[in-house]
Amino acid sequence: MGVEFLYPEYEVIRSTDRCIACRVCERQCANEVHSYSAERGAMISDESKCVNCQRCVSLCPTRALKIVRSDCVLKANANWSNDTIREIYKQANSGGVLLSSMGNPKSMPVYWDRILINASQVTNPPIDPLREPMETRVFLGKKPDRMTRSPDGRLVCDLPPQLELSMPVMFSAMSYGSISYNAHASLARAATELGTYYNTGEGGLHEDFYKYGAHTVVQVASGRFGVHEDYLEAGAAIEIKMGQGAKPGIGGHLPGTKIVGDVSRTRMIPEGSDAISPAPHHDIYSIEDLRQLVYSLKEATEYKKPIIVKVAAVHNIAAIASGIARSGADIIAIDGFRGGTGAAPTRIRDNVGIPIELALASVDRRLRDEGIRNNVSLVVGGSVRSSADVVKAVALGADACYVATAAVLALGCHLCRTCQTGKCNWGIATQRPDLVKRLNPDIGSERLVNLMTAWRREIMELMGGMGINSIEALRGNRLMLRGVGLNEKELEILGISHAGE
């Protein structure tokens, strides 16, 4: 109260004409916004607890509810925005670092939206995906430099380990702990059904999910949580996480309250202890150290699994990628600054890193300039929001994309950005059993499969329009892209012409 008071950000608008007091909203709100007042004979709400996750809105059988942004705001100020001032108040109240979840919501350039895709007209026929085969299969991994022949002249067909994707999209790292068992089950089942991969993140692999190992990327991050021999063996590939787009340069912190039961067992740390992933890997202070870890992991898995090195997109990403390409890694994953997170300091999330579009363009160009593009595959993430983003990323030079925010949206996430509270009403970013069960993996996996199937169809339509019937002919095909409203420098970095050129 008084100086510490912050007017609630949202208002719960309940139509009394429609409300039948079924109390579904009350039962479904983990934040305890709704309650039934016997005295008033009506439902009431405590808006100060509302995070605008829309669970109640979605389940209200008479559409009696809506959540709106409060119009009780401070005096308009183009410099001191309402949000900025509120953050000041919060920090003055608490003295703490502000925490946020999911991706950077700030109004920063989205280059995907400034890039347009080509289509065939007259000189070259578009291809109709309903009539002609349209291929989206991708192999990720190092490709041999030289063909060799056996003494009898036959081509030697030995390949370094590859990941085969039915389409150029994988589900990116989200740890068991940051998301729920059922969210992992949904991802694992969907990846298996789709013929792509999901990623354990740094939380280990629950024993129930070893059966999906052929479609699992197991992650080794700075905390090394959940890493053991069987874990490394279980996955189809191993990802060394050096950084994350939402929080480059810092580690992770899963509070002890979430380290319960299976989460603690899977991470191999005691119940209730905080899981703190250090900012650096303390055995990697330079690129040659990374090479050692890459080869340690290869040795441990008999060179049968590709090694992915995941880094956040930062200023000198091209040089970093070049170093990784020479480290023995098979795949480089780059995470742009709009990537999501289960929790990150707000200032870091909103101010550190660079857009994935620019990072991708410059990395792809650098690797080609150095003639080592074939040494590695390139996977990009950090707010790939649609099939069009995927097509643009591939045309800029990516082999595949990582998606996570889109995946959790498919699972029911409404981007309320309060994952850090652990009270996810959609059963995704929570470990509370009563909330976890809200995500039925039958539905979750089906929705993920639907989303990816839809994207795949759209990718095929876009490819067909360009007269391309195989995704590999799109990769790095920047001639298929044009910029709009971009300056010379941006076009130069992206390696594309302006629309009209």
Binding site: I20, C22, V24, R27, Q28, D434, N440
Partner: protein, 146 residues
């Protein structure tokens, strides 16, 4: 035969099924009109505690003890579906006394209401199934016992 099954692993105890059921069987086209400020008499009931919840409705037993026990001939089995005739039911609750699933409860005037799989209302498929937000209630064919 297709029956309504509940998977308690996914039941959230939200009770939407109860309201959807009561609405579907109200014969009205507007849920607010049907249920607002009125006692609700669904034919499916959520049971359980804070740990486990599940919705129970008539199992449509192959060998229904309620039908055999009805003193008024109000319960009958048609094409596998057990139906209650409200004109015949005298509200003695013998069916409640014999149903081992606790699936039956009387309606507003003491006459039995029971799940008839929404076959005769406008719902098409059971309203509880259609409205379940977590697919905890399903309508499907499972192995018949011999």
């Amino acid at each position: 035969m297709k029956r309504v099954y509940v998977n308690e692993e996914w039941c959230l105890g939200c009770r939407l099924c109860e309201y959807n059921c009561a609405f579907a069987n109200s014969g009205l086209s507007d849920m607010v009109l049907a249920l607002k400020d009125k006692p609700v008499f669904p034919r499916i009931h959520v049971e359980g505690d804070e740990k486990i919840t599940y919705a129970v409705s008539c199992r449509h037993c192959e060998d229904p003890v309620c039908v055999k026990s009805c003193i008024a001939g109000a319960l009958s089995k048609e094409n596998g579906v057990i139906k209650a005739d409200p004109d015949r039911c005298v509200g003695c609750l013998t069916c409640v006394l014999v149903c081992p699933y606790g699936a039956l409860a009387p309606g507003e005037n003491g006459v039995m209401l029971k799940c008839e799989l929404c076959l005769e209302n406008s719902c098409g498929e059971p309203a509880c199934v259609k409205g379940c937000p977590n697919r905890a209630i399903v309508y499907e064919e499972r192995g018949e016992t011999a």
